[in-house]
């Protein structure tokens, strides 16, 4: 099983690729290469994000599962406190 920090690192990597591609596409919106790459990275990002939230808790309001975990939004550590 992928550890919490490993999954988080994958989210950061895929999301950084999305950020970088988005900035590029803002000025080159017709670049087919970048469009295809964005589509690929987005799928990976959504996959690892869901896996992380299902296993370790919400990254944003969208990921809060009150039925399973109550108000898990409060659970630490918060991002600025360093990783476990």
């Amino acid at each position: 099983m992928t550890s919490k920090n490993d999954l988080l690192r994958q989210i950061q990597q895929f999301n950084f690729a999305m950020i970088e591609l988005a900035l590029y596409l803002d000025n080159q919106p017709d670049c087919q290469n970048a469009l295809a790459m964005y589509a690929r990275v987005r799928m990976e990002y959504l996959r690892v994000r869901k896996e992380y939230e299902d296993r370790y808790g919400p990254l944003s309001y969208d990921g809060i599962d009150t039925a399973g975990n109550g108000w898990s939004w409060l659970d630490g550590p918060w991002p600025w406190e360093g990783e476990e």
Binding site: N15, S60, L74, D75, G76, W78, P79, W80
Partner: protein, 198 residues
């Protein structure tokens, strides 16, 4: 980490340009009790909060303030889009127009630019939360003052919404403060700084 959602928290659709209104509503963009100050106050203060409830509340309210900054900025944008030179002169808007044209610049109604001195980060949970409660009331009063001066229903509607959020945030910060105090010595809340000594 933040991401942007391409929508307003609550709709802003103003049909008629009106620089006279923009002139004072801009205080809620960059003035002392404005939304930029609010967002930076809470998002800066959260790092030294000792309890998860306070960390969450400051994160969540601070994030909502960014959405309010966008709403007030949209109000300024729509009030100044398509304004005529006659309207600019009649409103005394030349002093803003000469530097910013119809751009949205964070400043107070009196003209001074946004200043981080309009908020504090004391690094003490009680001190900071008491400031936050005062800040919500000051912003509420500012929106009340704006509502005394505007007559366009397209402007009144989102301003009323923003005013109501100040009331809700005041209530939530009151609960946060109570939660912090419940963790302390009830006969002497000030024996320690809960952000530093715990």
């Amino acid at each position: 980490m933040w991401t942007y959602e391409k929508r307003l928290e609550y709709p802003v659709n103003i049909k008629n340009p009106n620089p006279a209104m923009a002139k004072f509503i801009i205080s809620q963009v960059g003035g002392p009790d404005g939304e930029l100050a609010a967002s930076q106050r809470y998002l800066s203060q959260r790092y030294s909060m000792p309890y998860n409830e306070a960390k969450a509340t400051l994160t969540d309210v601070g994030t909502e303030e960014l959405a309010h900054l966008e709403m007030v900025s949209a109000i300024i944008h729509q009030l100044t889009k398509g304004m005529t030179m006659e309207q600019i002169k009649a409103a005394g808007f030349e002093t803003y127009f000469v530097d910013h044209t119809a751009g949205v610049y964070p400043q107070a109604a009196a003209g001074f630019p946004f200043d981080a001195l309009s908020f504090a980060v004391k690094g003490d949970a009680i001190t900071d939360l008491v400031e936050d409660m005062a800040a919500e009331q000051k912003a509420r009063t500012t929106y009340d003052n704006i509502l005394r001066m505007v007559d366009d229903p397209d402007v009144i509607d989102p301003i009323r919404y923003l005013r109501e959020r100040e009331v809700v945030h005041f209530q939530r910060f009151g609960e946060t403060l109570r939660n912090v105090q419940d963790n302390l010595n009830s006969t002497n809340f000030y024996a320690i700084n809960p952000s530093f000594d715990l």
